[in-house]
């Protein structure tokens, strides 16, 4: 999957959960990705994290890390 697209989607999810405070937001992002992203999308963002995730916001990165760790 196109990594720019996945980064954009992850950042958008993070933007929504940001007002909930750090811990709730990270949990919210992770849960959303687990609930709605197909495994190849999760694999794609994991691959992006390993290679070059410059475009991911810090909050999105934490959420993604939590999502793919579980």
């Amino acid at each position: 999957m196109n990594s720019d697209e996945l980064i954009r989607m992850a950042n958008q999810i993070a933007d929504f959960f940001k007002p909930y405070g750090h811990d709730d937001a990270v949990a919210g992002i992770a849960q959303h990705i687990r609930d709605f992203w197909d495994p190849r999308m999760r694999a794609g963002i994991a691959d992006t994290l390993r290679k070059n995730a410059d475009g991911l916001t810090d909050l999105a990165r934490e959420g993604v890390e939590k999502a793919i760790a579980s």
């Binding site: 999957m1 196109n2 697209e5 989607m9 958008q12 999810i13 933007d15 929504f16 940001k18 007002p19 909930y20 959303h32 687990r34 609930d35 709605f36 992203w37 197909d38 495994p39 190849r40 999308m41």
Partner: protein, 950 residues
């Protein structure tokens, strides 16, 4: 059923307490407020009438319905006389007979005696009444001045493509004028002239029906008691001989109709009075635009081809199914189970959708199933499930009759949901207020007898900012319904929300510049909504098709909960669904993360239920959504697709991206009526069935499950669900049902909200709105009455996040897209009807200032360009648009409006951001490059091999 005219009680029923009276000695009890005429009709004592019909209020002009009432002097008209307790009425005696016959003589003295050649011979109330009163002569003769004599007769107005107006047959009963006013609310008709010169007029003397404000809803034709206003199809074919009650296949209102037939041919579609969604009203699409079902473009044979550049080859069903299955299996063998998937259609029945998602999950072995709701109301599902606990609107349509303040957001019901708009307009004429949030000045801002209390003409993309500003006013000015919130909502999350919206940065004053509307207007609108009585929110795709679509849905839910406007009639949060079965297709498990009934695939208990019933292991991980399927196709991991009744190549955003994805597929199967834009990229074409051939159910925007009954045989020889079952079987997973009713049995068995639904109940005349189960055995017209489905209502924090799609020097305008009354979505149906006469091409609406700045005059061809692509279309200079915003529709494939739109989408659901695209508009005299290429591709990709002569 053999053809019979629908019942007509003469006047509407009242709605008060029961009143008992005696008519010709028979006792009858009716609601207070009913007329004597209505009461008489309930006990088979129909009173002769001409100007009365229960479509409209009593008028009392024809004097045919006179009766005698004990203790009352004279002969009052039964249509205008309300019933009273113990009233004694006589409907028939010598005196009344004489009076009626005399009146009838006067009417007939100015009516042509051409009954045998009249279009409505046998279906004419005037003819019936002449018979009923025993008219045998006209003492005045027929030689006096008349409206029908050849030398004085006015020409019939045949300008409307669907009906004609013949003034020579008019009895000036005003039923048509009143229907236009009271039922449709357009006020297009009037009676011009006085006395003998009185006649029905659609506007000024220079107007004919086509040029007038008439919206061709058909209410006047339905109301007409003679052949004055009559369908052209009846003029041509004669009156119907049988009828089938079914459901319209256009918008999410889901109107009930009688398909009135001769043999297997539809003569006319007449709105069904007993249909709960429409109660006897219709619009130009449902009423008249059904001709596509028998259009010459219709494909009724299965077809296959190796490559998309090959001509199509017509084959048997067996060969097509076998070809499709082998291709899909080959793709899976090479690229894995998850390399294929499919899309269900919101224009197909619940039963058809159910079997497609079952085929994909059970036979394909993947959760890569999605539906066209992805690109329209998927944020509704997410937002309302999160806040209320269920993915559906809260009210029935009738609820609007109890609303005091309507907050209409991003919807244009008079064009997109016309029958519901008529209900809404009626309530507004009764005194309810409306607040419109829309960049465009839609008809509900100002039209005859309608004037919005506030029109917040917001900048596209600022919906959430407006909602936060409204909420700020409600919270900071003490307008919250504290009791409701304390009792019904999660108070901890409410407190979090309150502290968020109360922040100064969410005040109207702080957000006014972003929104582009005065802060004071927003304040006044908030106060009106919170304190004006029953507040109801209605919304459309102007809410959902944004990068914050889901946030916006939650923001509306917040507002409804904060003001206590949930859980009773007259209030609620109400999505106006775009297609007839959007609600149903979502209910039936079309989303890649949910089984039927909105239950996540990761839920072990639910998955085990389906695994046990279907006898096959199912995946616990969500599949791909439509935009993800396109991206995966381009990346090469998604190679095969089944598309049911959907034209993704025209309807989905960024056409060039979609086309690239479709070209990448090894196997694309299209099940449709026509070789649509998507079929240009297909390898298998499976002919679909029109709504007139289907047997099943649609679920409309108010969760009403309506029967769809076949009026004619399937033209392809196979129902869509049977074709799908055959494909599933060929894929190695046998699927079969004895009929669509058996599919509903399975749906009910596995879906709690449908547990009590069956074709048998619907066929018995029950009106069912889900949930229908043990808790709600007769359905649920209004939801969340005693508590939210999720328990406590959940307030969500809705931070405004501006879209990344912004105007620049190169693309200084914002494009927003929508629908027009006469056309429907990609136009596959309506473009193949006479509706094209109203809207034969997509038009770009542009503000006069923006037009002048670019040297664009009304009617000029212009280039519309975005970062994604360009197209050329005609411009209309319009003050409906605010400066800086342009608007067009996406009904015509040659325009390709979605060549312009972007890949931006809603954060939660990937619903595309159709409503905000930065564009430039310039004068142009030639098609765009995409249009040239598209034209060439059409020539190549739609060829069908000529069959050898036998």
């Amino acid at each position: 059923m053999t053809y019979q005219r629908q019942h007509d009680h003469g006047t509407p029923a009242g709605d008060g307490k029961p009143v008992t009276l005696f008519i010709d000695g028979s006792e009858v009890t009716v609601p207070e407020g009913s007329s004597v005429m209505y009461a008489a009709s309930r006990i088979d004592r129909p009173i002769p009438k001409l100007c009365a019909t229960d479509m409209v209020d009593a008028w009392g002009s024809c004097r045919m319905c006179l009766v005698e009432i004990e203790g009352v002097r004279g002969t009052p008209s039964s249509c205008t006389t309300p019933v009273t307790e113990g009233m004694k009425v006589t409907t028939q005696n010598t005196r009344l007979e004489r009076i009626r016959k005399g009146i009838m003589e006067l009417y007939i003295s100015d009516h042509p005696l051409d009954c045998l050649t009249c279009p409505t011979n046998g279906d004419c109330e005037l003819q019936d009444m002449a018979g009923t009163v025993g008219l045998r002569e006209v003492r005045y003769g027929m030689d006096g001045e008349s409206h029908f004599a050849p030398e004085t007769k006015a020409e019939a107005d045949v300008s409307n493509p669907y009906f004609q107006y013949d003034p020579s047959k008019c009895i000036v009963c005003s039923r048509c004028v009143r229907a236009c006013e009271e039922v449709q609310g357009t006020f297009a008709l009037t009676i011009s002239g006085r006395g003998f010169e009185s006649r029905v007029s659609p506007g000024t003397a220079a107007d004919d029906f086509f040029a007038s404000d008439c919206v061709s809803c058909g209410a006047c034709v339905q109301a007409c008691p003679t052949a004055t206003l009559v369908e052209k199809s009846v003029v041509e074919k004669g009156i119907p001989s049988r009828s089938v009650v079914t459901t319209c296949a256009y918008c999410g209102v889901g109107c009930s109709f009688r398909a009135e037939m001769q043999g297997d041919e539809v003569v006319r579609m007449v709105p069904w009075k007993d249909g709960g969604a429409n109660e006897g009203h219709s619009c130009v699409k449902g009423r008249f635009a059904f001709g596509y079902a028998t259009h010459k473009d219709r494909q009724t044979k299965p077809m296959i081809r190796e490559k998309i550049t090959d001509p199509w080859r017509k084959v048997s069903w067996d060969e097509a199914i076998s070809f499709a299955a082998e291709r899909l299996k080959a793709v899976q063998a090479k690229y894995g189970k998850g390399s294929i998937g499919g899309i269900t259609s919101s224009r197909c029945t619940n039963e058809e959708v159910y079997v497609v998602q079952k085929m994909i999950r059970a036979a394909f072995g993947t959760n890569n199933v999605d539906t066209c709701a992805r690109v329209c109301h998927s944020p509704t599902g997410y937002g309302l499930k999160t806040t209320f606990g269920t993915s559906a609107g809260t009210q029935n349509f009738k609820s609007v009759e109890k609303s005091d303040v309507i907050l209409l957001i991003g919807a244009n019901p008079t064009d997109a949901h016309p029958v519901f708009a008529s209900r809404m307009k009626k309530r507004l004429r009764e005194g309810a207020e409306i607040i419109v949030l829309d960049p465009r000045r839609i008809d509900l801002v100002k039209s005859p007898h309608i004037k919005a209390a506030h029109h917040i003409q917001l900048r596209p993309g600022t919906n959430v900012a407006v909602m936060n500003a409204l909420a700020h006013v409600i919270v900071t000015e003490g307008l919250v319904d504290e009791d409701f919130v304390r009792e019904r909502c999660d108070v901890k999350e409410f407190a979090r929300w309150v502290s968020f919206v109360a922040e100064e940065r969410n005040s109207p004053e702080a957000l006014a510049e972003i929104i582009g509307a005065p802060a004071e207007d927003i304040r006044k609108a908030a106060r009106l909504f919170a304190s004006g009585g029953n507040g109801a929110i209605y919304y459309g795709l102007g809410v959902t098709e944004h990068s914050q679509g889901s946030t916006m849905v939650m923001a509306m839910a917040n507002l409804a909960m904060a003001t206590g406007n949930i859980g009773r009639e007259g209030v609620g949060v109400n999505p106006l669904r775009g297609q007839n079965n959007v609600q149903g297709s979502c209910d039936m498990g079309s989303f890649p993360h949910e089984f039927p009934g909105y239950r996540h695939v990761g839920d072990d208990v639910v998955r085990n239920l389906f695994e046990t019933d279907w006898g096959v292991p199912l995946l616990s991980e969500p599949g791909l959504r439509i935009p993800n399927m396109f991206s995966a196709a381009i990346d090469g991991s998604f190679r095969g697709m089944f598309v049911q009744g959907e034209d993704i190549a025209q309807s989905d955003p960024n056409t060039q991206h979609v086309e690239e994805a479709l070209k990448s597929l090894d196997c694309l199967i299209v099940q449709d009526l026509f070789l649509n834009e998507t079929a240009a990229f297909a390898h298998v074409f499976l002919p679909g069935t029109s709504f007139l051939e289907k047997d099943g159910t649609f679920t409309n925007a108010e969760r009403r499950i309506n029967r769809v009954r076949p009026a004619m045989q399937e033209k392809s020889g196979l129902s869509e669900w049977e074709a799908v079952c055959r494909l599933a079987t060929a894929m190695g997973y046998p699927m079969s049902y004895s009929g669509s009713h058996e599919i509903m049995v399975e749906i009910a068995r596995l879906t709690p909200s449908f547990a009590g639904v069956s074709h048998a109940r619907l066929d018995a005349g029950e009106q069912l709105q889900w949930p229908v189960n043990e808790a709600f055995p007769n359905g649920s017209p209004v939801m969340h009455v005693d508590g939210f489905v999720r328990g406590k209502g959940l307030f969500m924090v809705t931070e405004y996040v501006p879209t990344t799609e912004r105007s620049t020097r190169m693309y200084p305008l914002i494009l927003t897209t929508g629908r027009i009354l006469s056309q429907y979505n990609v136009g596959a149906q309506t473009r193949r009807t006479e509706n094209n006469r109203w809207h034969g091409e997509d038009i770009l609406e542009i503000h006069p200032f923006d037009a002048e700045e670019r040297g664009i005059a009304d009617g000029d061809m212009v280039s519309l360009a975005s970062r994604m692509g360009a197209t050329t279309l005609r411009a209309e200079v319009s003050e409906r648009m605010p400066q800086g915003v342009v608007y067009t529709t996406f009904h015509h494939p040659l325009t390709g409006a979605n060549v312009i739109t972007t890949d931006n989408s809603d954060w939660a659901t990937n619903c595309p951001e159709y409503k905000v695209t930065a564009v430039q508009v310039t004068r142009s005299n030639r098609p765009s490059g995409w249009q040239d290429e598209h034209e060439e591709a059409r020539r190549k990709n739609y060829r069908i091999e000529i069959e050898a002569a036998e």
